[in-house]
């Protein structure tokens, strides 16, 4: 069941294959309790996350988007997450200009061993999205 038994919201997570996906796995294996609103898309690297993926998700029906990669300096491809950081920060600052609450989008770094950190990130982000409420109506989407 989702957070506080409310309607489950749609949160899309783009997780890098090498760190954050592993982190999520660690959290799972360690049986850390996590909210179920998150749907994970595994990507090779946070550098693969085109800001447009985030936009497409938000416009297409997601209530929140979480991007998570390796910590800076830890990128499997050495500098993918450095590029990601710039792009995603740009996006985060652009979103409110279009009237989209920037809190609905978060990017962060979680390593494969940080199961606990992953749990915290997901739980807190999901809680925040629930506080913000659904971005889209049951019938009508926010951008229609």
């Amino acid at each position: 069941m989702s957070q506080e038994n409310k309607r489950e919201l749609k949160i899309i997570g783009f997780l890098c294959n090498w760190c954050s996906y592993g982190g999520a796995d660690t959290a799972g294996v360690s049986r850390f309790k996590q909210p179920t609103d998150l749907r994970i898309v595994r990507v090779p690297c946070s550098g693969r996350v085109d800001p447009l993926f985030v936009v497409k998700a938000l416009i297409g029906g997601a209530d929140g988007v979480l991007v998570s990669g390796c910590h800076p300096r830890d990128c499997h491809y050495s500098d993918g997450n450095f590029y990601a950081r710039r792009r995603l920060e740009m996006l985060k600052r652009l979103l409110p200009f279009l009237g989209i609450d920037p809190r609905r989008f978060r990017y962060t770094w979680v390593s494969a061993s940080e199961g606990q950190r992953w749990q915290r990130v997901v739980t807190e982000f999901t809680k925040l999205i629930h506080e913000l409420g659904p971005l889209h109506g049951e019938k009508e989407k926010a951008f229609e």
């Binding site: 447009l52 416009i59 652009l94 982000f125 951008f143």
Partner: protein, 330 residues
Amino acid sequence: MNWDHYMEKRRKPLSEKGLREKISQILKEVDVVISWKMGFDPIHATPHFIRDEKEIEESVFNVFCVHNLTTYLPFMKEKVGIVVKGCDSRTLVQFIQEGLITRENLKIIGIPCSGVVDVKKIMEEIGESPVLQAEILDNSSLKIRTLDGEKFFQIDSVLAQKCKTCRYPTPLIYDHLIGEPIKSQIGWDKAYEDVTEFDKKTLEEKLSFWKKEFEKCIRCYACRNACPLCVCQDRCIAESRDPHFVSQKLELPEKFMFHFIHAIHLAGRCVECGECERACPMGIPVKMMKKKINYEMKQLFDYETGINVDDKPPMYTFKVEEEKIKEHEL
């Protein structure tokens, strides 16, 4: 916003004769020179591709020469001569930064510009009545004769929005300069006042503003095609089926997505020439999104597009320690 005093000082007549002589000179070194000529009526100039000495006579430069002619360059294989205003020259700098043109194949005639008009605004003022004659009087006002009669405008009152806060009236890169350089007193903050003002609105206000604006979008892609930095053109992901970002529906999500694509692909690249907005037949302020990103680029990376050929666009590079990007805690 009071910028009148400063415009007055810098507005100076340009010798079209000098321009034509210079075109004639560089036409010997290149295959084609791109300039302006009068279009279908006196207030509409049109890009003029000069391949023959005889065509030089028609070329003009005045407040109606609104187009950023550099938009054609990345697709041209010939040696090109081009006439640029200050703002247009930033595109050239950006092109060179990104390796989109070869500087050696280009001859640049720079024109220090004291601003061009917003043709749409004039059209609105004259109720789209056919223009029979347009005259520039003592460099500060316009006399426009239409089928409905004569109308006078202070040029300043119909100046293009971008010119009101122009920070680079003199081309930043050129081989030949026609006329005296002009200096701008406009500070960076001033140029982005519209962005910061708009950003003060609430999220709801902003969303409903864009919904209203994008509602008008007819997806003609004029903004994209007029944009000099939109170099994917025929390969644009807005028209591709794989990846499939945008469908052929004419609904708001599609339009939001398209304009996000345009803006995000121009992050740290847009030189704010305003061609997107000028080309839009529906009057959508499409430039604003890009300006907002530029504003953030300056805040984050102290970067301004199209100023220095040796710069690297901020999205093409990184720093291990980013001074201005803080980890977002919840």
